[in-house]
Symmetry: C2
Subunit: 342 residues, 2 copies
């Protein structure tokens, strides 16, 4: 009887990355350019190179047509997205972009016109985030593949990491939850929405096809006292809360309040129309390019005056993600964020 | 009658990259971190970040199963290759690797065992080049895709660029030409080689499946006086000579001598067996991870004592690639290097 081979889908993305990075510990890091935070940052999807007063932040993100680009996404939007996802990783650390390199895997039947639209999208996004394109590479591939590497710069003593949350901190997000998910659901279930107003649908879908990195907010957060941790939530709020808890040196938990969650009315309507749980869209689906931030309790109000932040709860020492629902009942949530391979 | 849409294959890889990078000039580069050489380096497949005394070198390379991994290549070899191709770009600049980040696009039917073999290959190569793995990302994709970004460090006043060759310089390579091509040809035409000795074939094929980056030579070259330019020749010798000529500020040409070309006997045998031109394999095919170097004429002999280099000709002012064949006749060669999309 042949033994059943275990497949990577059984592990999921986060465990695969850990499996990869764990093996690297055999090779010494140059101590001049990698300090303790640099090593911590391996779990932040970014490498921090120690430049004395600053860290050079290096993030890399790979987007593949089948996994990341819905059929409705045009080439310009694909070009924009590869820049946005990389800049979003920098934003989460409070880093200012220095430049981006992009390697493209292109199917041989791609037209020059389509290629130019991808380039146009890349340049539009580079301009939006003031990030010059500093290198590129092209290859032939069966599916359209865009790989970006973004370099940024951040003050060493201020860099925002995923770890750092302390019991009592306020936990907040920079914007609405579930809009990208709602847009993708409309695209996936068009017939359910045929009676909806076109411009309403378009507005929702725009969140899915043209996400925006919260760079300005990231750069403001880093200048503000009392911010203890930050991460982007493009992999889903719950998943990122889980990562934040895992990377914290002390045992922390999170208590969020359903009535504080900034879920727009449209997201409720889309969920209702599809008979789905709105919290699945808002907390687990991902693709909202917002930041999740923890802030010392007594600094939060002051910060909220400067940056539009939505408090959703606070940090506990429970080691769990608890949610107080609208009826006042406390439930325990699992980190079932959207994960590729799962 | 429908108009015929122009396809990217009509442009070829080099022109596509130029088309991409040309558009970036609208966004200002931070002058603290990008100097004139940084901007020049855009055509060197590397970004140079100005750190005062040193440049941080950032290279990025994307490998796709269909384009870069022959069916005979095992998963460990694929993992090794993504590190090797990136380290080779650093070697060509004389940069010492600081670390590498690797993003993997993985088909969902990949087994954990296969994944672990890729990781094993990555780690083996990282150890070989003393390059820690400093970040990673995984995604689901239809074809196996490996994207690497390598960081390195190089003295600012010594960095080796593709430009810089001067009339009269010696042009040399760090090792044999055509071995990788010969290996690929054996793999592609197995029936033609069924009577060949297995261990001979294996030795040749090893050059194709397990290329080695010339990092040690790159690090020696940068310490040696008189080296005026360097590049790796993995895209083919002629193609890289063409790039070197294009990037030179003054009009230069190259004269190479057929009898000086370090083409091993096996490459002649493979070419003969397939009725192919041996020069096609040695000069145009690519995948030899050797370096092409130009050196001031009066420094060459001294350098050759320290580093095993094969002189193949010298730099002229002709603006052409000339080859003196074994009969003493001079021919003009075209830069028809191996290009993806062509």
């Amino acid at each position: 009887m042949p033994s059943k081979k275990k497949n990577i889908t059984e592990l999921g993305e986060k465990k695969l990355i850990k499996r990869l990075l764990k093996r690297s510990q055999t090779i010494p890091f140059n101590p001049t350019f990698f300090d303790e935070k640099s090593l911590q940052s391996l779990s932040d999807d970014a490498a921090l190179v120690d430049l004395g007063d600053s860290y050079l932040v290096v993030t890399t993100d790979l987007l593949l047509r089948s996994a990341h680009f819905p059929v409705e996404m045009n080439y310009q939007q694909m070009g924009e997205k590869i820049v946005t996802v990389n800049v979003s990783d920098l934003a989460a650390m409070g880093a200012k972009p220095l430049g981006i390199t992009i390697a493209l895997g292109l199917p041989s039947d791609l037209s020059i016109n389509q290629f130019d639209h991808i380039v146009e999208g890349i340049i539009i996004a580079c301009q939006k985030y003031d990030t010059p394109l500093i290198g590129g590479d092209t290859n032939e591939s069966t599916e359209l593949t865009l790989s970006g590497t973004c370099l940024g710069l951040v003050d060493k003593d201020k860099v925002l990491m995923r770890s750092g949350a302390q019991e009592g901190d306020v936990i907040a997000v920079t914007g609405p939850l579930g809009l990208a998910a709602a847009g993708f659901e409309i695209l996936l279930n068009k017939s359910f929405f045929k009676n909806w107003d076109d411009s309403l649908k378009e507005n929702i879908i725009k969140n899915s096809l043209e996400p925006v990195a919260q760079l300005e907010k990231g750069l403001k957060l880093i200048k503000s006292p009392g911010v203890t941790s930050a991460t982007d939530i493009s992999d889903g709020l719950l998943s990122e809360i889980g990562e934040m808890m895992d990377s914290s040196p002390s045992k922390v938990g999170v208590k969020i309040f359903e009535e504080l969650l900034p879920i727009p009315e449209e997201v409720y309507q889309v969920a209702e129309n599809l008979d789905k749980n709105v919290l699945e869209l808002a907390l687990a689906y991902g693709e909202d390019f917002e930041l999740l931030v923890t802030i010392e309790k007594d600094k939060f109000l002051e910060l909220q005056d400067k940056i539009d932040l939505q408090k959703i709860g606070y940090i506990t020492s429970s080691g769990q993600i608890q949610m107080v629902n609208k009826e006042g009942k406390t439930k325990i949530l699992r980190e079932k964020g959207y994960e590729h391979f799962k």
